[in-house]
Symmetry: C2
Subunit: 345 residues, 2 copies
């Protein structure tokens, strides 16, 4: 049996020497290397930007959509949209586990998993497209895929419906990082706290700060703030526009008696909120930017411009155990589960 690289470089056909993601073509032969996992695929969750492009190109025609998807996989060995560059994720059952992974993984043959690495780097073979669910970007297929040794995944639990689990897993990195960073007694601010990732962060923060800490939810619309209030996820609720740094600073000053936040977690989905995060945080505090709308230079130059000695962390979507931590919240909190089922599942 052939030995593979943890990152799957052994599958790259063109150009040589790059990683599977930037590669133009990878090998989708389904004979596994010693450190690979073979998956019997059930459903592809196509990335929203990618699926929108495919639907447009196909003029909405289902057969044409199927044709475009088959074509992508035949050309590239993976479902990476050549226009958007993006992938998506998949659901399937473990069919084979490479011997080099023994003792390294707790997966068993037959487990139903969701891959949490992008389809844009996952070797995929589609034998047949069974059903295209146009409105939710899901496509059922008959086919196989390969998970590399470094590829992250989550075992789908029996007690949480599939779509609920998937929407929680999408933002699992945020509450898991919150759990790692927050200490008892901390004052924690979640900007965009009433959103999908923000609510999980609030919940996790409240659990960690204990009775001596404070959790502040900053939201935008009254409607979403009321929802969070009802579920009692924070100690303070602030309605403000996070692109207005001075407004945010003044309001946080008020609820913290001028002390500001020890930890600020940024979960918004709009640009230009770096400065509000910086001014809301105390000197020697920490800012965790989960928002993908964060600009590296705005954060770096912004903190320097106001002489603020804060540690600013780039929100890595992955941290050990992130799937379990996020799914566990759905078991612990009835209120949150209800909100999630209503809004996202």
């Amino acid at each position: 049996m052939k030995k593979g690289c943890p990152y799957g470089t052994h599958r790259v056909i063109e150009p040589k020497g790059v990683l599977p993601q930037p590669a133009l073509k990878i090998d989708n032969n389904m004979e596994i290397y010693d450190n690979e996992i073979l998956i019997d695929v059930q459903t592809l969750n196509i990335d929203s930007a990618s699926f929108t492009q495919i639907k447009e190109e196909a003029g909405g025609d289902i057969e044409k959509i199927k044709e475009i998807m088959m074509d992508i996989v035949n050309t590239r060995g993976k479902h990476q949209n050549p226009v958007t560059g993006s992938g998506g994720m998949l659901i399937g059952r473990v069919e084979k586990i490479g011997p080099a992974l023994e003792g390294k993984t707790n997966l068993k043959v037959g487990d139903k998993i969701a891959t949490l690495v992008s389809l844009s780097l996952t070797p995929l073979r589609i034998d047949e497209i069974l059903e295209v669910r146009k409105d939710i970007d899901q496509v059922d297929i008959r086919g196989k895929a390969i998970l590399f040794e470094s590829g992250i995944y989550a075992v789908l639990p029996d007690d949480i419906p599939e779509n609920l689990a998937l929407s929680v897993l999408d933002v699992a990195g945020a509450p898991a990082q919150t759990a790692k960073l927050v200490k008892p007694g901390d004052t924690v601010l979640v900007i965009g706290g009433a959103g999908k990732s923000g609510m999980l962060c609030l919940y996790e923060a409240k659990k960690r700060v204990g009775v001596t800490g404070k959790v502040i939810c900053l939201g935008y619309s009254q409607e979403s703030i009321d929802r969070v209030k009802e579920a009692n996820l924070a100690d303070y609720y602030i309605k403000a526009d996070a692109t207005n740094a001075v407004e945010v600073m003044e309001k946080i000053k008020e609820v913290t008696n001028g002390e500001m936040a020890d930890i600020t977690i940024n979960c918004v989905n709009v640009p230009n909120t770096e400065m509000a995060s910086i001014l809301a945080t105390k000197d020697n505090g920490l800012i965790y930017f989960f928002s993908m709308a964060t600009s590296f230079t705005k954060a770096a130059l912004g903190a320097e411009g106001v002489g603020k000695d804060v540690t600013m962390i780039i929100g890595n979507g992955y941290t050990k155990g992130h799937a379990e931590i996020a799914l566990q919240i759905m078991r612990e909190s009835e209120e949150l589960r209800k909100i999630y089922e209503e809004l996202y599942a």
Copy 2:
């Protein structure tokens, strides 16, 4: 005496409610607020992108350059280039210190300082432009400026020539952060280690890792690597292209016996080196991105794509004591001082 905001929002004329940097016009009246410092300005170091634009607009004519500069300051109350948005820094002597800063600053009237906050947010009045040094982007003036309470600065030392001090101060955040992050026994990789900020990081890392640690310099051109080798700044020297993630991973694997780096410091000046930084670092390791060419999304999605649980830090240009730490290196290391004098002063 009027009370000021630490961030200078009290000086903003238009639009109301924003910070001095994004403001279109700020108040450059030189009567100080209680928490401000008045500076008698000697030299403006105009940001290179800004000065290039001004020179072009002026067709290289000195009198026209002066006119454009006067015009910017008269319109905005600060030297923020309306085309590039950027500023620069200044050198001058402390003339007055607001009473609210007593006990908070160790500045004295008469100290010669360099401001380390951008001219794009610094209230400035130019009474006369004395000399334009076109080739080094410096302009001597008669005029005054205001430093806000949050504004960072460095007292210029007597034992280090001004231009050498300025070029060290430009990258002072990098070695100071290195000093904070590196622990004895660590394996530290500096990508772009043969550059201006990289060499200071190598020096600081070598001091901190002690005899049980390892410092690795990854450089691009043989010429600059040889220079660093001669000064004995690292334990290992690697020549590689940091945009090639797989090449970098293989080479770091080799010199670390497969262990990879505990801490990777990225000091390059080119884009697309996030992935090399991620693959070169061990699980639970730390990456410090000082390079302004870093892309937030490439780092966040890159780490997730390869399932790497690393902490990634946005290089805040400021950390407490950064100016002192960086200048001290020029006193401690004769070799580095010689290189710096030759290359940058």
